[in-house]
Symmetry: C2
Subunit: 428 residues, 2 copies
Amino acid sequence: MELYEIFMDLALIILAAECFGLIAKKLKAPQVVGQIIAGLIIGPTVLGLVHTSDFIGAMAEIGVMLIMFSAGLETNLKDLMKTGLLALLVACVGVFVPLVGGYFLYSFYHFGGLTAIGSPEFYESLFIGTIMTATSVGITVQVLKEMGKVKTRVGTLILSAAIIDDIIGIVVLTFVISLAGGSDSAGGIADIINKNMGDVAKVIVNVLLFFVFTILAGILIYKVFKVLNKKYPHHRRLPIFGLAFAMLMAFCAEKLFGIADITGAYAAGIILCSLKDSDYVAEKMDISSYMIFGPIFFVNIGLKTQLDSLDSNLLVFAVLFVIVALITKVIGCGGVAKLAKYNLSDSLKVGIGMMTRGEVALIVASKGLSVGIMDQKYFAPVILLIICSSIVSPILLKVLFKKDKNDGNDPDNNEEAPKELETAASAG
Amino acid sequence: MELYEIFMDLALIILAAECFGLIAKKLKAPQVVGQIIAGLIIGPTVLGLVHTSDFIGAMAEIGVMLIMFSAGLETNLKDLMKTGLLALLVACVGVFVPLVGGYFLYSFYHFGGLTAIGSPEFYESLFIGTIMTATSVGITVQVLKEMGKVKTRVGTLILSAAIIDDIIGIVVLTFVISLAGGSDSAGGIADIINKNMGDVAKVIVNVLLFFVFTILAGILIYKVFKVLNKKYPHHRRLPIFGLAFAMLMAFCAEKLFGIADITGAYAAGIILCSLKDSDYVAEKMDISSYMIFGPIFFVNIGLKTQLDSLDSNLLVFAVLFVIVALITKVIGCGGVAKLAKYNLSDSLKVGIGMMTRGEVALIVASKGLSVGIMDQKYFAPVILLIICSSIVSPILLKVLFKKDKNDGNDPDNNEEAPKELETAASAG
């Protein structure tokens, strides 16, 4: 491919994202839904004008990294501390309920009843549950940003729970894979436990190390940035160094600790969120994001979609799979929020905000395929889940926030100013 | 390569670019010089921390596209019309003098005297001249932008001449290659002329067609954008559609007419330069550019440098090659400006602004290698030329502009406000 050919793909992506985003907005739906549908339409599913590529994938990764960094920057550190324990609980229950739900669905659908613990069928079923565990936070964050809700109590809770949930998802994946792998081997039960414990302990140690690393790096780097901020207030040097720092954190998180790169970027944002100019830095990130990287991330979700393998039998399963995956998250996460005395509307927002699935579900599925615990054809339901949750969750979230506003129960009404106007005003 | 690994490379590029840019600024040199040197240092030439890749190359291409689009947006259409004929003349002479200079250098250095017209040695020598013809405008534009000089008489002349010069360079390349190819073949002189005329005519027709295409598309698209601008003043929709349009023009220029993609992007900028919000659009492009794409373009020049094949004999030739290439451009372009009654300082600025060579010289050289008219080892002198011109030209330009300012002869003094402060103020 010649270099200039990327421009055609990028132009189509940007144009389609903007046009369908606009249509979505006119229909009172979140713009990201329009952008994902734009990807479905210009991608192989409908028109086949643009195909995803390594380059587009890399640009999309930068896009979600920027979104997470910016979300971190907009976090209120005090609120985060306050919601920390609750977020952990939301994440745990939000992983557990879908895991069990997926297990039940597959067991009953394929084997007509519960499968015996330890049997290959059991692990197969449990693995389907595992795919359902991890929330994909990128889309929800963008919706929260669109509505100016990142800094609210609900926004902070969703964000931190989704981050923790990713990590728990990895622990569960490691656990299930090694259990299933262990049960195939000829070793005794002690061997299996040893092996599992080793893998799981490694993941947990890595998570703790990343936590320590983030705090240590955070203290040091925050001091450097504070000096920088004082010396160059509102200077482009600040967002440039901030971006480089976020990229380094993204890299380190995944390379050194095996944690998702976007978690590293989010951590970088949190480290810098108390800077005087954190809003200025976030604004510059948002411009790069909405001009080019953001649309690519959302359109690419649609571009990557391939639904060839969906026959009628699989379709029924896929529909059930999507329904179970969505409902179990709402029950798990929303339930914990409700128990923590959130009102019904806010609890629902938490549950629905956690509903979105994305890359991680695909990664888990790929892992299952490669170790032979899952059949290739189950990719189709996973993709359907990603699309449905990416479209349904933003729409429901927007409805809930709107309803609050109309009912006059919105404590964060002042943050409702549309992002676009803010940007326009600040640039004016 | 895993997706997250791009973040390490990008972070290093951005950090090195900013740090060396800062050092360059402290030393009163243009920041792009610092960024190119940053590339040399972190690239294979010195530390080997980052290697160029398809991804980095594509990001760099977006970078130079953004710079050219933004330069087009900042163009004053009336000035461009006024300087049009002069720019054509500057470009023609600026191609002719280096072509002859390169021919003389190679003929005397390798064959000890002039080579017979039509002989293989003649074409070999002429080809070395051909490599010297095309100016690379990206670096000069960034320097002009850094100093707020794009809209000045000199800035407009350099920019338009450099664009035309690219096109003439392609005509010359086509001519020389087909002449040389023709002389190898067994056909008669009539055949050779027919073949050449065919190729050259094709290039000229393409250029004319692109011109017509740009005017027609321009009239239509400008009207659309004018309506858009009226409906959404200072709205992010404008730069987003602008960017997509620039990308489409870049693609069309190269795909349909065989003209450099950056010329298409520049044309897109000129089409939109009379919009009420053209400055607003340019500002948004500049943010994406300085945050990420711009540094990658300049650092990548350093990253791509490989000087392994430089032995002492070739080194002497390379030094002469660089000197001839630089001086002939200054004489050719500056001479025409002087004849057109520009004062000495402005004439020098035009000549020095046109000195930079870049991608096109490498592309010409690659073409020569692939048709067998040039040896692989001559890549080293070409790369040396690109580095030297990229470093020398910005420094000299800055000195000349500074001198004018100190002498109080600067008619554009009001545009001298540093770009960074402007951006900071507008975002404040």
